[in-house]
Symmetry: C2
Subunit: 467 residues, 2 copies
């Protein structure tokens, strides 16, 4: 099927070519899986950045010094990919996709030259990009987003050069709170400015309140229902303070973490359909609306098993899973992405906060009749000296008893409970099923009824269900 003339970088004159735009989680998972399926496939990945296949989620810990060397964040090097016959070209930005000619236009950023690359199958894995707020002063030196490795390196460089003392973090979501922790670790004072009425809107308010306490215990100032209106310039073009709706806050470092958007410009210009979520529409095989073009990861939509419709929840886990499916299919295999249930977790200082499925708010927004129960328990047997408080919330559908979601917060064991509930959600279990799960019990690990079972039982009893 492939013409010999296409083989600019190929090693075989009979193989087909799989081209990947974006060499991070989704792109490189796809490359590896495609290689497994077809040893002869020509595989080329382009990325405009200088780093491929690294843990974006590890960046706050690199900045905070918990990760000593950025090389530790790199899962596989370009050389390691090359050894598996996968070509990774960093510093190469794809500027156009032409489906009619099955070609992309690539710019070598170092040389400023452009060239054409033909493909048989193409994967768009362009990820997501930070929302840029139209606020005066957010171009100043000392104001950062945290998206890619280059951002982390820039922040590290700024910290070393200017030794800032006062950080303002705009946004109280995952990145904002992880950066708060890591900047406190480095000795900065930290002030979080959050537009919403609660921190971490990813969980319901009963769970989020524990977070505020933990941040305050570590000296972090929090302004809720507040926003930055201007960042002001001090010496040498550097930020010196920010004006919020509430007043002036000293700030010689500002991290803007107000969310991300799917990077779909390239796809849109190529005529590839975008869904209502704003991300690239894909089917279960991760095919886009255009033949032989796949999309995966943060730029694509994510099928939600509970909502039974596409959503957009950009996460590394999902990017890896989708990349694997797209790579398999691009190489002629057959795989389907079975969907997400909406699981996420973070740690803020010593507090774990996690969620899966739908929050009560999300269930209501989806038009589901839901009820919920919050219980306070301990991560393991309360009579052992190191037991920690654990708050668990379960959300279920009225009538059917179908589990819809769970949230947990505590110093230990929140991750375990959310993973149990995430597995239960994947399998479409009910509250009654949750009470009957055969979970591992010994006093250092649990109580004889796991907190998720205590919560499920309490909700069943309140609503008259059996347990």
């Amino acid at each position: 099927m492939t013409l010999a003339g296409h083989h600019l970088f190929g090693t075989s004159s009979t193989s087909e070519r799989f081209v990947i735009i974006g060499a991070d989680a989704a792109g490189m998972s796809a490359a590896s899986e495609a290689r497994r399926v077809d040893p002869d496939l020509e595989i080329i990945a382009y990325d405009r950045g200088d780093f491929a296949s690294y843990s974006q989620c590890g960046l706050p810990y690199l900045i905070g010094g918990l990760v000593e060397d950025r090389q530790q964040l790199i899962a596989r090097t370009v050389d390691e990919f090359a050894q598996r016959g996968i070509t990774v070209r960093l510093g190469h930005e794809v500027v156009a996709v032409d489906p009619s000619r099955k070609a992309i236009r690539v710019r070598n950023l170092a040389r400023g030259e452009e060239f054409e690359q033909r493909y048989d199958r193409l994967l768009i894995a362009t990820g997501a990009a930070p929302v840029r707020l139209p606020i005066p002063g957010l171009y100043l030196d000392g104001v950062f987003h945290l998206d890619v490795m280059e951002d982390a390196i820039a922040i590290q460089h700024y910290l070393r050069m200017h030794r800032p003392k006062h950080a303002v973090i705009v946004g109280g979501g995952y990145i904002g709170l992880e950066m708060a922790e890591n900047l406190v670790r480095l000795g900065l004072t930290v002030h979080v400015v959050q537009r919403n009425q609660q921190l971490f809107p990813s969980v319901d308010v009963e769970i989020a309140t524990s977070l505020s306490g933990e941040l305050e215990r570590h000296g972090v100032d929090i302004s809720l229902r507040d926003g930055v209106v201007e960042a002001c310039e001090g010496h040498g073009g550097r930020v010196v303070d920010v004006h919020t709706n509430r007043g002036e806050v000293p700030a010689d470092l500002v991290v803007v973490a107000t969310g991300v958007r799917p990077a779909v410009a390239l796809a849109v210009e190529a005529g590839i359909a975008v869904g209502v979520t704003g991300a690239i529409a894909v089917d279960r095989q991760l095919r886009t609306s255009v033949p032989d073009i796949f999309a995966a990861g943060d730029c694509a939509e994510h099928w939600h098993r509970l909502l039974q419709r596409p959503t957009w929840l950009p996460l590394g886990t999902t990017a890896n899973k989708q990349g694997r499916v797209a790579g398999r299919n691009a190489a002629g295999g057959d795989a389907a992405f079975t969907g997400i249930v909406g699981t996420a977790i973070t740690r803020v200082f010593d507090l774990q906060v996690a969620r899966t499925g739908l929050t009560e708010r999300e269930a209501a927004a989806a038009g589901l009749a839901a009820h919920a129960m919050v219980i306070r328990s301990t991560d393991h047997a309360g009579y052992l000296p190191d037991a920690q408080e654990l708050i668990v919330k379960v959300v279920a559908e009225v009538g059917s008893g179908r589990l819809l979601g769970g949230q947990a917060v505590g110093r230990a064991g929140a991750d375990k409970r959310i993973d149990v509930l995430a597995t239960a959600l994947y399998a479409d279990l009910t509250l009654d099923d949750v009470t009957q799960l055969d979970l591992a019990y010994a006093p250092p690990f649990n109580s004889v009824w796991d907190p998720v079972q205590v919560a499920a039982t309490a909700l069943l009893r309140r609503t008259g269900g059996s347990s």
Copy 2:
């Protein structure tokens, strides 16, 4: 239905009477659930011991001093039960059940008197009792089993009075290893004698070997394929050493932990059917072969979801679940025990070891065509400084890819992986499903692919399945 004359202890002349033999996990869960279903039911529980409703699994930690006061192990006191209209009569041994007259014969152990107690519904929750080995010297002072609270108190008393220095533990299962840890904590030298060729036969040998290393690091001697042939008397009728097949071991404290058997004598004498497992046969509603008599907990059989047949795996979690079901049904409600999947866990010093489903050995014994994969990973992102090695094994059915079991060992996170797999087993998921689970990821909690997903993927790849 109830005759007024039956109401020896009743408060209402129209209520029925639910009598329970055994006031521990199963019995008192049944009592509490029956009370919820029927506020008027007369509920009486008899137990020959002096303690009701306590955590048997906490006893090793009480002995080791991690639990300071035995009151902490008691979930609810007799007075608290009384406030809910549940009568608990401790120090009362049930010596006979007469189904034809719907009556039991009870002996007040303090007074030596017997009386008859009529019932409308009866629950047998007599638990399990340690296997008593026919070995000379096992009657000596200083030789203990660890079954009930009274045993723990006796061991505590002996430790205080005689300050033993050298302990021999016979049996390398859950209780044996938990006692090894707790006696080392108290400063004793500990020698574990195990008849089997591996410690902890509850897991496959690849997982068990980590345990031996951990015990040895803490100075515990281990003799495998060895057995005690005699315990020898020193001063004052106290044990001074034991003779094993290998030689003589000094021992001024011996704990025999060679397993338990279901306590079914009372049931058998009453003509209640016992299954092939040796435990009381029950249906899904936990009814025995005799009308109006239920059985639950360690004396009863446990439906196994994977094997689709009754098994006997005595555990507190199962006892609580079965007790709840039996209590609901005894009170006129309708509940079914949906079955176990074979989950268990223990901690030995700093090592967690856990299992769920079937081991490779158990799958083979059940005639299932199974294959398995063992992987070495870390409990969370390996680039964070506190990541710990975690070994995970998954077992699956050849052909169908149905998950059959999992095992894990490590210093952290084994419990989480086993609970995820236990939930997956409950829901009858496949290896492919496991790879698609939407588990919680952030670097302090996991890698982007959870170790159970890495193991499932590796097994799928080895066998040519898709992932």
